[in-house]
């Protein structure tokens, strides 16, 4: 090998950067459409729920205007849709239809590095897209707060976990239409049980417990805390998101290794 340096360690930054550079090269070809929907979707939701519902049926929730409540909650919606779904579909398409991983793994890159790089890339993207609803909510009347500067970090950590979830799912299904079960049975219920559109403390106890173990709910609470004031329990919430992400990372690595190496 000419002109190259090489080491055999695990999780080499050069390998991870190489895989991410492939994602960046591809993203440059389709970023406009993704950015368009990521910006427009929260506007539509805020108009429909925040302005429409807030102006007609709901005065406010927990001392917040409905626009403030929904605007901060929508961050979690943006994060899951910018992480779990692209990870599921992107991974499956690259593995099954484009044979991309065959090419990458023929280079000195291991499945663990591929998974880590793709999670990082999706996490970075989703941390940007996750901030759009907050910025748009500010346009609609939400007061900016210094704590909001931490929101990209909360989004990044949560999106990493959901990217790991999406990759693990993609590495476990046989056909792409099996994603329907995952979106219907997992993603949609978790999205609705995140406290985005309605507070969970009015729900039956079982659903409240389910919401509390939902990483999206923890993200929503952290974003609201960043906007309206932190409490000590928020550290626990953040720690739970880190634990969620670490667990999904290892599961994704394990599933993808099994899928990619015969």
């Amino acid at each position: 090998m000419n002109g190259a340096e090489f080491s055999t360690g695990r999780l080499e930054p050069a390998a991870i950067a190489g895989v991410m550079s492939r994602e960046v090269a591809n993203f440059r070809t389709y970023w406009k459409g993704t950015a368009f929907s990521s910006i427009l979707e929260p506007i539509v939701y805020l108009l429909a729920f925040g302005v429409g519902l807030g102006a007609t049926l709901i005065d406010g929730v927990d001392g917040l205007s409905y626009v403030e409540f929904v605007g901060t909650g929508m961050v979690a919606t943006a994060v899951i849709f910018a992480s779990a779904l692209p990870a599921m579909f992107g991974t499956f398409v690259k593995e099954r239809f484009q044979n991309t991983y065959d090419a990458i793994l023929a280079a000195p890159v291991d499945p663990e590095e591929v998974v880590t790089a793709e999670m990082l890339w999706i996490g970075l993207r989703a941390s940007v897209f996750g901030c759009f609803p907050l910025l748009i909510a500010i346009v609609f009347g939400l007061d900016p707060a210094p704590g909001m500067l931490l929101v990209p970090i909360f989004c990044f950590v949560t999106a990493l976990g959901w990217a790991g979830f999406g990759i693990a799912v993609a590495a476990s299904v046989a056909k792409i239409d099996q994603f329907n079960y995952v979106t219907t049975l997992v993603i949609t219920p978790l999205f609705l049980l995140a406290g985005t559109f309605f507070p969970i403390d009015q729900l039956p106890e079982g659903l409240q417990i389910a919401a509390n173990i939902n990483p999206l709910y923890q993200l929503v609470e952290l974003v609201r805390a960043a906007s309206f004031g932190f409490e000590a329990t928020d550290l626990l919430r953040f720690a739970s998101l880190v634990a969620f992400t670490l667990a999904l990372w290892r599961i994704a690595v394990s599933r993808m290794t099994k899928r990619l190496i015969d």
Partner: protein, 303 residues
């Protein structure tokens, strides 16, 4: 000059077995590839060629046996081995929306090439795609894409190149174009392991041919030696109604000659050894080919 036996081996495989459930894709494979030669791995579909390639890239792990690439033991040292070999896959897995130069640059980074720009320029020149460097891959013709795939496998200037069915499904013109590129690499001293089921490809490019069947190598030599050893000098093709062909076949086989179907004809292999009268006057006599050897060794039925 070193003989093949004296050269150090770029690839060493001893007794490799790879099973997928009930199916044994590679079945006790022994294979040495000396440095600096082009070895053609010839075999019908399902012979185990692609699985062998995947074993060498660490994308499949052998159930048993020993594998080494450029002195590195697999799968333990697969990552270092992969850094020193290039792979050109059977299927086009380029990023179609990305530009030609970005496709190359990504892989230069994956292979830790220091001067990515210089490597990209060199590969563009090799693939004669410099003028198309900023075009998206989906704007390229099939031949250009294949050249780009080959160039991508060479972006880190590897010592060993694995070509998995490099011209499968291509037009004859594009195939010839790729052959000259591969031949250029061979003459520059790269070690090449090329799996193919195109006999002409193996015959033209390979210094040696290993015929693979049911997961193991059943014959190996220079193409001319394989032909001389297994097919003799001459093959006679006879066309005619099925009854006549069946009768001729029986006669030739009773005289110890080997016969294989050749489309609507039968090919009597080694016909120079036939007693007078066995080969009819209307037979077309031609030199024996590697195809004769291939069909004789691997059987008549397609898998």
């Amino acid at each position: 000059m070193l003989t093949d036996e004296q050269r150090p081996c770029a690839i060493t495989i001893r007794g490799a077995v790879k099973r997928f459930g009930e199916i044994t894709a590679v079945d006790g494979l022994d294979l040495d590839v000396p440095q600096g030669i082009c070895l053609g791995l010839l075999g019908p579909n399902g012979a185990g060629k692609s699985t062998t390639m995947r074993l060498l890239t660490g994308q499949a792990i052998a159930n048993s046996g020993e594998l080494g690439v450029l002195g590195h033991k697999l799968p333990e040292e697969s990552k270092v081995a992969r850094s020193r070999m290039g792979v050109v896959p059977q299927l086009d897995n380029l990023d179609v929306d990305v530009t030609v130069e970005d496709n190359l640059a990504v892989y230069a980074r994956l292979y830790r090439v220091k001067d990515v720009g210089a490597a990209v320029d060199r590969c563009l020149e090799l693939a004669r795609l410099t003028a198309r460097r900023r075009d998206a891959v989906d704007k390229l013709s099939g031949g250009m894409r294949r050249r780009l795939l080959l160039a991508r496998g060479l972006v880190h200037d590897p010592e060993l190149l694995l070509l998995d069915e490099p011209t499968v499904g291509l037009d004859p013109q594009i195939r010839t174009e790729l052959w000259s590129l591969i031949d250029g690499l061979r003459t520059r001293g790269k070690t090449i392991l090329m799996s193919t089921h195109y006999i002409e490809e193996a015959e033209r490019l390979a210094d040696e041919v290993a015929v693979m069947h049911h997961g193991k190598v059943i014959a190996r030599a220079k193409p001319s030696q394989l032909i001389a050893e297994h097919a003799g000098r001459e093959t006679s093709e006879v066309y005619g109604p099925p009854d006549r062909l069946a009768e001729l076949r029986a006669l030739a086989e009773s005289e110890g000659l080997r016969v294989r179907p050749a489309g609507p004809a039968i090919a009597i292999v080694g016909s120079e050894r036939s007693p007078n009268g066995t080969i009819p006057d209307d037979a077309i006599r031609r030199a024996a080919t590697l195809e004769d050897v291939f069909v004789l060794l691997t059987g008549e039925e397609a898998e």
